[in-house]
Amino acid sequence: MPSLRDVRKRIRSVISTRQITKAMEMVAAAKLRKAQMKVMQVRPYSEKMDHILESLSAAASGEMIHPFFEKREVKKQTLVLITSDRGLCGSFNANLIRKSWEWLEGKDKDKVELVLIGKKGSDFYKRRQFEIVGRFNDWSGNLDYPKAREVVDFLTNRFLSGQTDEIVLIYTQFISTVRYKVTTSRYLPVERPAIDEKKGGNIEYIFEPSPDKIFANLMPRYALTKMITALADSFASEHGTRMIAMGSATKNAGEMIDALTLQYNKARQASITKELLEIVSGAEALKG
């Protein structure tokens, strides 16, 4: 049976923990709202871009139109893993790391390289044998456009210079405030969109200038948009999972406080009873 003082100390410490988790939950909720808005704002641009890419592909079928589409024999693969910089967000990073680990499993160490976005991924792979070619940390959960551009420039340069033949992206897709999905998708080379007859892929467009010139303009932006979408989704998911994790931590702390308070009161009562007994029996003895 823990002493009264010990229980009181525990209660106090759990109360302050609850205060912290409660505050973190609220902060995460506010950040989630902002990040979610960002996701919603980026989506229309990305969708429109897909649409233009589709129409262009339909018009310029056959020819090699842009180096981003070039499929080479895969001698080297790059894995880009987007994790968070900070912890305390439930299984968010664990899920991502598990997925990346599965992806790396059975692959030749000389044939893969890693680009890690977010501190948690960096920490995990620091002492593993895989080669890390790029690290992009300290986003503090915000979408930073110049920084995103830096990442994209880095990746596209690697691809165009032939240092890597395929870039794969693992990130968390934001579906709703309570649903997230760890997604693996190929970043480069870009898959030529299939021509969908129903969606108007057969519209005869006028192009100005020629399709390949538009492609030259479009593809770098396409690559950037894809990265920004992935980042926006990741950040929103991070804040969402943190909010949920902190919410349940707050609830658990509350339950713990109740249980401890009960224990404390019981212990207090027991000690009072004991003291009374001692006094009464002491008085009895004196009388005797």
């Binding site: 704002q41 229309p44 649409h51 233009i52 108007g200 006028i206 100005e208 200038p209 010139k213």
Partner: protein, 134 residues
């Protein structure tokens, strides 16, 4: 009348019915009216003019991007858009002198294409703000 949406990576900037638009295409300005043939064009920094339902003219300052029209649905995808009336002249002037300095720097270790684009953007803003660029 047809539908126009102006979309930037940050947000949907404008959405609504318009009677005409004039686009700064990479091959020159072009006008688009209702029932225009399907078209995709690259755009360069310039003046993007629309006439809304009530034939009121609205001026936008756009930078690089794309313009697509099909089935009376026009979309402008631009890196950045602002109302011509919202242009921050001082900022544009700073950007212009910065870009000029860069272009004049013959040391070589600068990205010429990038400096050039920055120059175009700044120049365009200043022009649309209605000031001289000497």
């Amino acid at each position: 009348m047809f539908n126009l949406s102006i979309v930037t990576p940050e947000k949907i900037f404008y959405e609504g019915e318009v009677t005409s638009v004039v686009v700064p295409g990479s091959e020159g300005y072009l006008g688009v009216l209702t029932d225009h043939a399907p078209l995709i064009t690259a755009i360069v920094p310039g003046k993007f003019t629309i006439k809304d339902k009530s034939s009121k003219e609205i001026l936008f300052c756009v930078s690089y991007g794309f313009f697509e029209v099909s089935a009376n649905h026009a979309t402008l995808l631009a890196d950045s858009v602002e109302f011509a009336t919202d242009i921050d002249f001082e900022r544009a002037k700073d950007a212009l002198s910065r870009a000029k300095k860069r272009l004049a720097d013959t040391a070589g270790n600068i990205d010429i294409a990038r400096a050039r684009r920055a120059y175009e953007r700044a120049f365009n803003r200043i022009r649309l703000a209605g000031y001289d660029t000497e």
